[in-house]
């Protein structure tokens, strides 16, 4: 199993920066997410999490620092959170930190992700 490192791009579409590390279980998705083929981009990330849960079985720390994501991306983010919740239920150690910008709407959306997935998410204002 290998790390995932994707450098974010802000052009016609916005690709987020992704860093998933096998050795530490530290994962970060940051920047902006608005993609031409959203599910195609997120599928390898979901596969990585699945493999990590099945083979490494270590702790997972997710830092989500997205200043913008469209609705298609939000569905994929829910898929990731659902997977983390399932792992946690089976005894996996999961921490999710969601960094939000200074806006009531963004805070509301994080709260909705918590309600939607049942996962505890730490809400941290972005500096």
């Amino acid at each position: 199993m290998e790390d995932i490192h994707i450098k974010g791009v802000h052009e016609a579409y916005f690709m987020p920066t992704v860093n998933f590390e096998v050795a530490t279980g530290n994962c970060e998705i940051s920047g902006e997410s608005y993609l031409e083929e959203t599910t195609k981009f997120y599928a390898p990330l979901l596969n990585w999490i699945r493999d990590y849960i099945d083979t490494v079985r270590g702790p997972l720390k997710f830092d989500i620092k997205l200043s913008y994501f469209n609705t298609s991306s939000s569905k994929c983010l829910v898929d990731i959170l659902d997977m983390l919740k399932t792992y946690q239920k089976k005894g996996g150690q999961v921490t999710v930190n969601w960094y939000y910008e200074d806006s009531d709407e963004e805070l509301e959306e994080v709260e909705d992700f918590i309600l939607e997935t049942g996962l505890q998410i730490n809400k941290i204002p972005m500096e």
Partner: protein, 177 residues
């Protein structure tokens, strides 16, 4: 096809940004930059308008009845978007040709969204987010997101064109405060 409603949609009063034509990646990127960088001195407002633009422009790209091939040969929707600048608010409008059968469920969805409190809308978004994606891969929650981002009702109009087709216009106000 110029009915009074469409003319109103196309009036040049208070226009900050307007575009009519193919909604392909290149054009969307230019429009997005305009909105992000120059529309309002308040970045929070620009971000709101940008979020609304992305969701409604994607609808035109995917669902407009009028289609054109872009430079890469991909089939993309043709439509219109206008951002008007008024005292106290911006108004974002998007319009495209459609069939009555395909747009009636969208208008019903707008009515449903407009009838909900913010908490109900958030609940509806959570519900819809867990539904399978729309037939063309859309998140199926774009209009809900537009209403939540704007914090204002979604207005719409359906105009019969002279050739028997329909032109659908969706508008939303974004408060400056």
């Amino acid at each position: 096809m110029e009915s009074a409603e469409v003319k109103k949609h196309r009036t040049t009063d208070n226009i900050a940004i307007s575009y009519t034509g193919i909604f392909d990646t290149e054009i969307l990127s230019v429009l997005a930059k305009e909105i992000e960088g120059t529309l309002s001195p308040d970045d929070k407002i620009n971000k709101k308008v940008f979020k609304i633009f992305i969701e409604l422009a994607q609808n035109i790209s995917m669902y407009s009845l009028e289609r054109e091939q872009n430079s890469e040969g991909s089939d993309m929707g043709v439509g219109t978007m206008i951002i008007r600048d008024f005292d106290g608010y911006y108004e974002f409008s998007a319009g495209n040709r459609t069939t009555k059968d395909s747009i009636i469920p969208v208008m019903e969805k707008c009515d449903n969204i407009n009838s909900m409190t913010r908490d109900k809308l958030r609940e509806y978004r959570r519900l819809q987010r867990n539904m399978p994606a729309g037939k063309k891969g859309g998140g199926n929650i774009g209009l809900i997101q537009v209403a939540l981002t704007a914090s204002n009702p979604i207005e719409y109009a359906l105009v019969k064109c002279e050739d028997g087709e329909y032109f659908y216009i969706v508008s939303v106000k974004i408060n400056k405060e």
